[in-house]
């Protein structure tokens, strides 16, 4: 996806706050509701932590975001090897259930950076 916004932070828990805030600011600008914003923060967290867990040695976390019709399309990726991604157990995990409850169309994918989870959230009232 040719992202309108691309943010990269070091692969460590303390930087996830930065990522969450950037994503929330983007979503707010796109007109997302407060419910969507709150769910989005949780989803970004869950996706990033899941990826960091599944891809040992990942160096950074990259979020890309793009406006689509009535939605904001996002991907959360980690820079690291994509072999073995996604693992067979991914979509039956609790984490995956949580992500797919919070956001629309969650799917494992691979970006130029590495293993990723892509999803959408609705914008506008």
């Amino acid at each position: 996806m040719s992202a309108e916004v691309k943010v990269r932070v070091p692969a460590s828990g303390e930087f996830l706050q930065v990522l969450r805030n950037v994503v929330a600011a983007l979503a707010a600008r796109a007109g997302c509701s407060v419910d969507v914003l709150a769910d989005l923060r949780l989803a970004v967290d869950e996706a990033a932590l899941r990826l960091l867990h599944d891809v040992p040695g990942a160096e950074g976390v990259v979020v890309e975001a793009e406006r689509a019709d009535d939605a904001l399309a996002l991907s959360v990726a980690v820079s690291g090897p994509a072999d073995g991604w996604p693992g067979a157990e991914l979509t039956s995990s609790m984490g995956w259930h949580i992500i797919s409850s919070l956001v629309d169309g969650a799917e494992p994918t691979t970006t130029a950076d590495g293993p990723a989870i892509a999803f959408r959230v609705p914008t506008g009232g």
Binding site: A28, V34, D35, V36, E46, R50, S93, M94, G124, G125
Partner: protein, 244 residues
């Protein structure tokens, strides 16, 4: 209930307890023990707004009155434990045991109220610009408020009391769903240990697909408080699953 041996604090108090659920007896008990609630709230002075602490303590007192069983010992002791427990829980939930600058506290409170008001008025979750125009804050300040004040709980005395006690109708369905979730991971123990309110929020959000504001409405707390509790519960579950 009305046994011969009623080890409450004195006969007058015992008589009030025997007349429950008569609202007048309840009110008399509240009046009688309100100074205790206020006293305990003052012990946490400086860690949150005094007014809120007193509200939390008063709600806890009501809960203690409704739950007290005379054979559990003296009411004063039971009420004190309940009130202190609720005050600590309040401080933990609001995260304000860590001092937040007053300006941010105020913004957080203002935004939290506006979220709940606008959700009611519009019948849907408001956007950030809508909150900005309601509060007179900038979009950035609203975002800051949403983040920082997340759990600020402006609970009124009209809030449902004892919403987390006793078995509820949904419990069996809820347990079935959580059991399903338990199969997936090794967090079973942690799930069982969650306070009922947190379990319920988890269940409503992830198994009933209810929105955070609908859950807030159902449970009687603010949307931002739901948000905060969800974030904390997920992070606890994650920690226990060993995933980061």
């Amino acid at each position: 209930m009305a046994e011969a041996r009623v080890p409450v604090d004195d006969t007058e108090v015992a008589a009030f307890f025997e007349r429950l659920p008569d609202p007048r007896a309840r009110e008399a008990l509240v009046e009688r023990f309100r100074p205790l609630a206020a006293y305990l709230a003052r012990r946490f002075r400086g860690r949150a707004e005094q007014e809120d602490l007193e509200q939390v303590a008063t709600l806890a007192l009501l809960k203690a009155i409704d739950r007290f069983e005379p054979d559990r010992g003296a009411f004063v002791a039971y009420a004190s434990v309940t009130i202190v427990g609720e005050l600590k829980r309040h401080l933990r939930d609001t995260g304000w045991a860590v001092r937040v600058p007053r300006r941010l506290q105020e913004i957080g409170l203002q935004v939290s109220r506006a979220v709940d008001e606008l959700t009611q008025e519009l019948g849907r979750s408001p956007s950030v610009p809508e909150l900005a125009s309601r509060t007179g804050l900038t979009d950035d300040e609203v975002l800051e408020g949403l983040d920082v004040g997340s759990a600020y709980q402006a609970q009124s005395l009209d809030a449902p009391i004892g919403d987390d006690d006793g078995p509820s109708l949904e419990l069996s369905e809820e347990d079935a769903s959580l059991a399903m979730l338990e199969e997936w991971t090794d967090v079973a123990e942690q799930l069982r240990e969650l306070p009922e309110r947190e379990r319920r929020i988890l269940y409503l959000r992830f198994f009933q697909n209810m929105s955070q504001s609908a859950i807030a409405d159902e449970i009687g707390i603010s949307q931002m408080h739901v948000s905060r509790l969800l974030a904390r519960t997920l992070s606890q579950l994650r920690a226990s699953a060993g995933a980061v």
